[in-house]
Point group: C2
Chain length 327, copies 2
């Protein structure tokens, strides 16, 4: 079996080759933003999930490369459109596509990327290709639903924890579940196993998103790679804020609403004040507890899997990389 | 074999049923714009093409309904995104989605529609489903390329006739070709026949787009259903304008550039002036000639088809409906 870092290398050289091929195939103004996006890098966690999952059941991982490309290109398509909708100017320390090119470029090149991802997936050689296609199309619709809920929540102050968990399941977790399940299906794994891998991906994805929320407020600025407190400053409905509203007394609720409603403020002052309320309500600990719950649930999916222990170890390692755990 | 109007009825009742089902399945703000779009109607020419083409080879047209829905929903997705990019406020005498809702709604609901179209296509029962999926994904990428060229041409004054023909092939014709070919493939028609139907659709699609260009300038306002001269007013690079630039002498070119460059103008005056140049250069006759060439080419594809004459007659009728011919 390949190591995770070997799979990363295999994927990175494939996507580099394919982006060069793409750019020479049609209108420059359509493909330049695509090449720009794909060259920005990123963790490439989803395509590695496809390859790793395939590799649990088959050795010819090159047969899973089209599906890995499909999922990475699809993920990047969502970033192009989400960044327009969220008016985000920067990503991975570089200008987003709509900021560097323009809105129309981000819309149309994003559209093309989503269809190119279907083209790649259709190159996969597998008798279960129709099942993989259905999984992928269903996942794509779910990701749109997740993004819609996320935007809806920005206009609301009464988002419940259950609603939030469902939103991050759709927006983030299903694509991780899809990556693992697609790899397994392509390798013709038994349905029971591919379904368990899907659940593993969902739990891991939810833990991952909760941790992303946590690090934005309580992370180490240098290790996190972006400024701490951005979510607080922009009143983003994160797990932390939703939990805080749920637990807050009258005075604390008033304080949160006060900072949420102010148009002009000093970011440092606002972050400190909101974090003070979070500390009173033990929001950090509660979030860590929730991450732990989902992480443990993911690991119990692994335990249910009917595969070699050494293969499980690879999946375990993957989850540690995703959650930046050093144990 | 079903008549065209019977197929229209079958499709209309199916899409009505399906849009009701869609709206009740997820976030209201995602599905309301989709339902709005699908209820706006339109000619439904593409889904009828799928059903008619399927019906040439098989009687159970209900098996082609998912593919017909897929193509109609995909076509409507392109309208949502194109209308943002073209800043078009009205379509079919109603507000466009981004005008009625907002840009983000048109982006995200459009995205969802494109994936829903893949979901529908995947419901088709056919051994050639992977081929149909590939055709559909390839067509989707081509449609994006066509839209990109169309936007690129707005910034250029030197668009050649060949470039224009390639743009309308991608932007308009391939989806008509895809509709016919998909229907044939699903019914397991021989490759030779489905390829010929594709070519028939391409030629017909090009003739259809050229006629759309022609009617915008030389059509009957009432029959056309929108104001005459819109393309001239907005300097749209139509076949007419490209042909005029190709044939114009120095003085005529100067006149066209003069009207193209003016920021403030009386629309009636501009349309009259540009039409005068078109008349001098016989642009209307030349466009009609080109439409005739593509229409004849389409009909010759029909003649090559190895199917019953009465079935060919249905396809002939379809082309007359599309091109609004009364003979």
């Amino acid at each position: 079996m390949y190591t995770i870092s070997a799979l990363q290398d295999i994927f990175n050289s494939e996507i580099e080759k394919e982006s060069t091929r793409l750019i020479s195939s049609g209108p420059e103004n359509l493909y330049a933003p695509i090449k720009y996006t794909l060259s920005m890098g990123g963790k490439r966690i989803r395509p590695v999930m496809v390859l790793l999952s395939y590799n649990l059941f088959a050795n010819d991982v090159e047969n899973a490369l089209p599906a890995a490309l499909a999922i990475e290109i699809f993920h990047n398509f969502t970033l192009l459109h989400d960044d327009i909708m969220d008016a985000a100017e920067m990503r991975r320390n570089q200008l987003t596509v709509h900021a560097k090119f323009n809105n129309n470029a981000a819309i149309l090149s994003g559209d093309a990327m989503s269809f190119i991802s279907f083209q790649y997936l259709l190159k996969s050689k597998s008798e279960k290709l129709p099942d993989v296609m259905r999984l992928f199309a269903d996942t794509a619709v779910e990701v749109c639903e997740g993004q819609q809920y996320d935007m809806d929540f920005e206009q609301r102050v009464d988002v419940s924890e259950a609603e939030y968990m469902e939103m991050i399941r759709l927006k983030t977790a299903v694509l991780l579940g899809c990556s693992l399940k697609a790899g397994a299906l392509l390798a013709n794994a038994p349905d029971k196993v591919s379904d368990e891998l899907y659940r593993f991906g969902i739990d891991l994805g939810i833990a991952f998103q909760l941790q992303d929320d946590l690090l934005d407020t309580f992370g180490d600025e240098e290790a996190f790679g972006k400024k701490i407190g951005g979510d607080i400053a922009s009143n983003k409905k994160t797990y932390l804020l939703i939990k805080a509203f749920e637990l807050a007394g009258q005075a604390q609720k008033k304080e949160l609403l006060h900072w949420g409603g102010r148009k002009k403020f000093d970011q440092g002052e606002k972050v400190t004040a909101v974090k003070k309320v979070f500390a009173e309500l033990k929001v950090e600990e509660k979030t860590r507890g929730m991450i732990e719950t989902y992480f443990k649930s993911a690991i119990s999916c692994l335990n249910n899997l009917d595969i070699d222990e050494c293969k499980k170890k690879q999946l375990h390692l993957l989850s540690q990389i995703l959650l930046k755990r050093n144990r």
